[in-house]
Amino acid sequence: MLGFILKRLLLIIPMALIAVSVTWALIRVAPGTFYSSEKKIPAAVEAKLREKYGLDDPWYKQYGIMLSNIARGDFGISLKYEGQPVNEIIARHLPYSAVIGLLAYLLALAIGLVAGTIAALRQNSAFDYASMAAAMLGLSVPNFVLGPLLVLVFSFWLYLLPPARWGGFTSLILPVVTLAAIYAAYIARLTRAGLLEVMRSDYIRTARAKGLSERSVILRHALRGGLLPVVSFTGPALAALLAGTVVVEKVFAIPGLGNIFIQSVLNRDEPLVLGIVAFISVLVMIFNLIVDIAYGFIDPRIRYE
């Protein structure tokens, strides 16, 4: 187990560097300089930048320097936000995305697990059909449509919640609900399907046969096996959550990491783009690893060598 974790942890760095390399290559192969010519950068800064990034060196040398800087965790200085280290920019904007993402995930988990479990236990009941239809709707309404619709109803028609920006708990409700909808839908479907399959398995029959109460059959035995698909969904969900937050941050004018990423890409702010790609890649891979470890704990049949 420890060897498995160590091996995976060691793999994260080269894999994040691959993501950074692809991004770097895309930016460099595209026409135009990476610090855009239509924006004036003071000559002194330009000279310093050219020196720092070795712009007059052959490409492989530049690539090597960029890679070694990022591998050491030094993401450099932003080109657009002069003088601000990329690490600081990320640290400043991350909390917004993290709060929204985490709350949305918890909400989605709560709704999805409860709805999915009830739907599975009362298969073919009205609740089952209604919640699965709602889940299908959640999968099909894009979040940039759902968000503005919620704003329209709850802010402009009912005057209940603030339409945008960051400030206080009420301003979090709409973005979090918007972001959570699709994951709640996924989790509900996965929970239902997982439970339905497990409820037909032999070990559940055994649990019933030895006289356990229905409650403990479900809570202690069925859920444990039935939730495996949900657990493995958490890894990809984090990656998808990132894309989701970009939209939600844009719709609700929240200064999170997603917004900054889009801005930095449009500005061709290379150090900032690469820094965010590296940071998010590492984050996603660590999360995937945690999911894989959790998998082993929940399902003792899985062994890692």
Partner: protein
């Protein structure tokens, strides 16, 4: 059902069996009907509207009084945008692009993913290991970030030479809007083949030791022949199911990118770019968001239902539910 006992026993193929199961699934049939309706609408709709009212997706009224956002009415069932353009015409035109993006990117993912997965699964051993490790690595990378970068740096006037060549090939030389759409096809197709490759590899692994493969080999069929004539056709069920579910996810990705201003650009429209434009005016002209948004949601809803129905019909594993 009843006359089965009296009529002579008829053989039934897997496909006919699946079709029967699919048609019994009301939600899937509903999805299928809606999809046919939407496809026909976006194909013939723009021409019909132009013939009856003269509105096209980029028609701006000559009368300045009409160049404004108008609420839905009989004349404009979905209202107009600030330039006085008919939103119904734009939604239909946008549907062409949205559906095309979904279909073409799914085709790219089919071609690449099926070939890749089949070759890896068939060859096995070290090559399979290497090929699947590559897929694992690509899987772990948050590709959406890279697609955003790809579209941002190669978008607009920066389209790569081969995209310009491709644009010329389809007879739209120098048309930046078309180049951007082609780039979008490429970018989305590029990232959507990974799961397909895994699905197909798994199928091939379980099929390649079957006797019909041995028989084919004994009668001298080449490896390529075995893969493409014998193995892939037998793995088609899951492939079709997965492809049906890829279409909505690609369409969502397209809408997401167009929403960020990186995908389809004016004068062309997709459901994503229309919704994006509508959001700016949500408080005063809500119909500009609601109609494109709901049309897209209805399409994705139907595709998801159809995909679910196909899975239940074609995949014996889930048949019991």
């Amino acid at each position: 059902m009843k006359d089965d006992s009296t009529s002579p026993v008829k053989g039934t193929s897997l496909w006919r069996d699946a079709m029967r199961r699919l048609l019994r699934n009301r939600l899937a049939v509903f999805g299928l009907i809606v999809l046919v309706f939407i496809s026909v609408s976006v194909i013939v709709g723009p021409a019909v509207i132009e013939a009856t009212t003269g509105y096209t997706y980029d028609y701006i009224p000559a009368d300045n009084e009409l160049v404004k956002a108008m609420a839905p009415s009989l004349k404009h069932p979905m209202g107009t945008d600030e330039a006085g353009r008919d939103i119904l015409a734009r939604v239909l035109q946008g549907g062409r692009i949205s559906l095309l993006v979904g279909i073409i990117s799914t085709l790219v993912s089919l071609i690449v993913g099926v070939s890749y997965g089949a070759i890896a699964g068939f060859l096995g051993g070290r090559i399979d290991n290497l090929m699947m490790r590559i897929v694992d690595i690509l899987y772990a990378i948050p590709y959406i970030l890279i697609v955003v970068v790809l579209l941002a740096v190669f978008g607009g006037t920066n389209s790569p030479e081969w995209i310009k060549w491709l644009t010329k090939l389809i007879g739209a030389e120098g048309n930046q809007g078309i180049s951007q759409i082609l780039l979008l096809f490429f970018a989305l197709g590029l990232v959507s083949w990974l799961t397909m490759a895994r699905v197909v590899r798994g199928q091939i692994l379980s099929l390649k030791n079957e006797e019909f493969v041995l028989a084919a080999r004994a009668s001298g069929v080449s490896n390529v022949g075995i893969i493409f004539r014998h193995l892939i056709p037998n793995a088609l069920g899951p492939v079709i199911v997965y492809a049906t579910l890829t279409v909505p996810s690609v369409m969502l990705a397209e809408a997401f990118l167009s929403f960020l201003g990186l995908g389809v650009q004016a004068p062309y429209a997709s459901w994503g770019s229309l919704a994006s434009a509508g959001i700016k005016n949500i408080a005063i002209f809500p119909w500009q968001l609601i109609f494109p948004g709901l049309t897209m949601a209805l399409t994705l809803f139907s595709l998801n239902f159809l995909g679910d129905g196909l899975r239940d019909a074609l995949d014996p594993q889930t048949r019991k539910f």
